[in-house]
């Protein structure tokens, strides 16, 4: 299939330039001396270096490493004997212009195979029909294939995608907001009092520096302020303290997905249609101690449904259907709960065959002190899932840190079904 070029013939006689250089170097030799003593010096040096035979230190060529027969040398010998080297070696020799393809040789080689047992079926055998006259050796077809790893999506990323598609099917519109959020959207617009313990240093992160963002339009600010101070027009007594605009304009990493809902309900980041279903699925940040159930950061998936006539019973209905659908749980259970921004509030747990009752979501009817200042007259039922928990439930993971696994072995071996 191949024959030697003139260069190849020369190398066969004298040795490859890198071999000749290596022999010349002995222990060490200055470059300028070697240059004079050997032809094809630069090619020889390049390959000797690439093979790790020599290195250059301050203009001196120094030997290093152990030298054995190289692929190029083995290939050169095989071709000179009329044999065909493996493809990888052949292509190296072709690149170095040591050998060239010989079509007649290939054909001759094919003819020589008549009546013999072969492993590789060649184009020549197929084209000439000579394959009918050779014996194709059977392989050990029951041996396991060599392990290779396909490209794949990260299991948690794939799960998040699945959840979003489920919500899409159910008619939900996706919303989002910035990772670095205003305290106003994260807390104040949700009727969370400014001195509430969950707004303290230990419960929420804050950002270094001046950290003041831009508050929304005055009418929203005015309404939210009065809801906090005295209830405003909402029929509430409010929290009864002096609301501070400066505190509301501070920035912080979003602590929960619910921060996004008032952005849309108020028309600040998007418009809400009535009736309408909305959701967001985003990363959230709280200064928790990291362990098997608390990650450095976490995903939350929350949303709301707005319509003229929605009740607490509808909220239970939505939660039950969604949880049963996603988790395929046999049973769900509701617990009274508390959130500053919903009343009545409820928590939902689902029964896992092995883990028992797992708390999955918090929900409720948004308080009028939240909706009315944002200009919303209809009831809004809202829910938030700890989507990390749901993923652990579904992927059968016991440690939350695996959701962001940095172990390639685990990622490679995790099945996709």
């Amino acid at each position: 299939m191949y024959q030697l070029t003139d260069e190849g013939k020369k190398y066969l006689k004298k040795g490859l330039p890198e071999r000749r250089l290596y022999e010349l170097v002995k222990d060490a030799i200055p470059i300028k001396d070697a240059q004079k003593m050997i032809d094809d010096f630069s090619i020889g040096l390049m390959w000797a270096k690439k093979n790790g035979w020599v290195k250059i230190e301050k203009g001196i060529i120094v030997r290093e490493g152990v030298v054995s027969d190289t692929d190029a040398e083995k290939g050169l010998k095989l071709v000179s004997e009329g044999k065909t080297p493996p493809d990888k070696i052949a292509s190296l020799l072709l690149d170095r212009n040591i050998i060239k393809k010989d079509k007649t040789t290939a054909l001759t080689a094919a003819r020589e195979l008549i009546g013999k047992s072969i492993t590789a079926l060649t184009p020549e055998l197929i084209k000439t029909g000579l394959w009918k006259e050779v014996n194709m050796k059977p392989y050990n077809v029951e041996a396991a294939g060599k392990t290779i790893y396909p490209g794949k999506r990260q299991p948690y990323a794939a799960f998040i995608n699945e959840i979003k598609n489920k919500l899409l099917e159910l008619g939900f519109v996706e919303m989002t907001g910035p990772t670095i959020e205003l305290e106003f959207w994260n807390f104040d617009s949700l009727f969370q009092a400014q001195n509430h313990p969950s707004r303290s240093w230990t419960e929420t992160y804050s950002i270094k520096g001046e950290g003041k963002g831009t508050l929304p339009k005055d009418s929203i600010i005015k309404n939210v302020r009065s809801a906090h101070e005295n209830g405003g027009n909402t029929g509430s007594t409010g929290w009864g303290y002096k609301w501070d605009e400066k505190k509301a304009s501070k920035i912080m990493p979003r602590a929960h997905d619910t921060a996004i809902s008032p952005r849309y309900l108020s028309g600040h980041s998007g418009n809400v249609k009535v009736p309408g279903k909305y959701f967001s699925l985003v990363r959230c940040y709280r200064p928790d101690v990291i362990d098997a159930t608390h990650g450095v950061e976490f995903n939350q998936c929350g949303g709301f449904i707005i319509d003229e006539n929605l009740s607490f019973r509808n909220l239970l209905g939505v939660l039950k259907d969604f949880v049963m659908d996603v988790t395929e749980a046999e049973d769900v259970k509701f617990y009274p709960d508390y959130y500053p921004f919903t009343e009545p509030s409820v928590q939902i747990s689902a029964k896992h065959p092995e883990l028992g009752w797992v708390e999955l979501a918090g929900a409720g009817v948004f308080r009028p002190e939240l909706t009315e200042p944002l200009g919303v007259k209809q009831p809004v039922i809202a829910w938030g899932f700890g989507i990390d928990r749901l993923a652990m439930y579904k992927l059968g993971i016991k440690d939350i840190r695996y959701l962001f696994s940095d172990n390639i072995k685990w990622l490679r071996e995790k099945t996709v079904m």
């Binding site: 990323a157 617990y335 390639i408």
Partner: protein, 554 residues
């Protein structure tokens, strides 16, 4: 969420009925917004979910709420009588801790249960509701050791000495803050004050230095104590009154007799505690629309009485109620409606599905993410997900990057997670560094948000969707990463050019900027071996990062 230690036997005694453990867990405890975390023979841990109802943070409070659903309906009755005790508030406290409300509870049979529960309630109320004693601090004292009236007055740090609780030597006020364990814990609440607040009786015996420590003499309550004096101190009377009410009602539930105290301020005298029930009116149509249940007047009355309300009147449109003075959470008729639903039992209410036809939609980034991932997976790469929080060492130093403005946390839990990433490539290298003992080649990519400082953004930072990819093997080549990038760009239909560039991340002469529409949208190249050394990576790495928001025009 407060977690309470409760004795099963004590709880049943206070309810006045033995409720079996299963029923307690699955039903009864929910009436008190609790969840049983653990239950042994007698010891239970109950998580109290309502962070706005300190009245539920004790066995007494939980029992009171459950008892309503097991026969003891309607408003719990608490009566008061004057104790004759006077607390005089000196003007000197106005700059330190200006307010106090007080009470006396007599005829107590102080058992171990009572002692444990009172201490627990006091800690939870001052800790959670009182924001770690800052807003509300509570002291309980042996009433019979108090001589004459109680004075609430501020003293200079070295002006006064007393023996703090569990000590046997007199210390000055400043010594207490330096030496006593509680003194050290709470010294920050008095930091910078010229004088410290003190409760002291006419005989000169110190009761306490709020919000820090009681005295060992008056401030020690034992099983021999029969009558107690209680004070709450802080900055806002509206916050202090409910705290005091919660405490005295819990003690009254164990047989104590509540007596009032006259607290004399410069301009007025107030009589505390005030246990007069509060009132609220709820609209019947509103009850129906929020609950989704058509309840008769009789049912509404019954459900509210189970929740320890008294219904004073039901008209055609309205329900008028009285509720106990220990509750400070009722701001709106909504709060009353929730109590109706809790009495009904959440799991007894038939859920109603929402049958509403709406058209769903996903935002652009998810579509971009999915398509980009499809191409990268097709090129044989494994997707990874990492945290957006990292640290300066990984993000900048190990990458040989210059210090640049990034988004930093003011109060990180650990320095490992203290800044937000502004680039994905460090995460790729971190991944290789964590997987150097696994089979190579490793080919990975990540799609995710970076947080970029942006003065035009309403929150001063913006999210930027990026893609990064990396390959590590025994041998890698610049051509390979250039081909992968080219395949990605061609398949997603983005035009680009390469432009030679230099930075510390990549080897000089093996790094290019990716130019799209005249703007640099990313870089690619072979990673600088110094960076590999910094990460302890032993095989060569090639990679690229590209701004998806820009190339796909968010």
């Amino acid at each position: 969420m407060p977690t309470l230690d409760v004795s099963y036997r004590d709880l049943c005694n206070l309810i006045g009925k033995r409720i079996d453990r299963e029923e307690l867990r699955n039903k009864a405890v929910m009436f008190a917004k609790g969840e049983i975390d653990e239950i042994n023979e007698d010891e239970m841990k109950i998580d109290e979910k309502d962070t706005n109802r300190p009245d539920l943070w004790s066995t007494e409070g939980i029992a009171r709420e459950i008892a309503g659903r097991y026969g003891k309906k309607g408003l719990p009755k608490y009566t008061t009588e004057p104790s004759g005790l006077v607390v005089k508030v000196d003007e000197s406290v106005s700059k330190v801790r200006p307010f106090t409300v007080c009470a006396v509870v007599r005829n107590l049979n102080i058992t171990e249960d009572l002692l444990i529960q009172t201490i627990q309630l006091q800690e939870k109320v001052a800790g959670t509701y009182g924001r770690n004693r800052q807003d509300v601090a509570i002291g309980v004292y042996d009433y019979n050791k108090i001589k004459g009236k109680v004075n609430y007055k501020a003293y200079k740090p070295n002006e006064l000495k007393f023996i703090p609780l569990e000590f046997n030597e007199e210390l000055t006020l400043s010594e207490i803050l330096e030496k006593h364990p509680k003194g050290m814990d709470f010294a920050h609440l008095l930091k910078g004050k010229e004088k410290y607040p003190i409760f002291i009786d006419d005989a000169g015996n110190v009761l306490s230095m709020p919000p820090v420590i009681n005295s060992n003499y008056t401030g020690k309550v034992t099983e021999n104590t029969t009558d107690v004096f209680i004070e709450c101190s802080g900055f806002n009377l509206d916050a202090l009154k409910p705290a005091l009410n919660v405490l005295v009602c819990a003690l009254a539930d164990r047989g104590g007799r509540i007596q009032t105290v006259d607290v004399i301020y410069k301009n007025e005298t107030i009589k505390t505690p005030d246990l007069k029930p509060k009132t609220k009116t709820a609209n019947k149509d509103y009850i129906k629309s929020i609950t989704g249940i058509d309840l008769s007047d009789k049912e509404i009355k019954d459900l509210l009485e189970q929740a320890r309300y008294d219904v004073t009147e039901i008209t055609k449109n309205e329900v008028k109620v009285e509720y106990p003075a220990y509750r400070q959470d009722i701001m709106h008729e909504r709060d009353v409606i929730e109590d109706i639903l809790i009495s009904k039992g959440y799991n007894e209410i038939e859920p109603v599905p929402v049958s509403m036809e709406t058209k769903g939609s996903l935002l652009k980034p998810q579509g971009i993410t999915n398509k980009v991932a499809e191409v990268m997976v097709g090129l044989g790469l494994q997707e990874i997900l990492s945290y957006t929080l990292t640290n300066k060492e990984n993000l900048l130093k190990k990458m040989e990057r210059k210090d640049s403005p990034i988004c930093e946390l003011e109060n990180p839990v650990s320095m490992t997670w203290s800044v937000f990433r502004d680039s994905l490539l460090p995460g790729i290298l971190e991944f290789f560094s964590n997987n150097k003992h696994h089979e190579i080649p490793q080919k990975i990519f990540e799609i995710g948000n970076c947080i970029i400082p942006d003065s035009r953004s309403e929150t001063k930072y913006r999210d930027n969707l990026s893609l990064a990819c990396g390959i590590t093997a025994r041998e890698v080549s610049y051509e390979e990463i250039a081909s992968i990038l080219d395949a990605f760009m061609r398949t997603t239909g983005i035009g680009y050019k390469f432009k030679k560039t230099e930075n510390g991340i990549f080897i000089k002469g093996r790094c290019a900027e990716i130019i799209n529409n005249g703007r640099s949208v990313g870089t690619l190249g072979e990673i600088n071996p110094q960076v590999l050394n910094n990460w302890g990576i032993e095989n060569p790495v090639i990679g690229f990062e590209i701004d998806l928001d820009f190339v796909f025009k968010k």
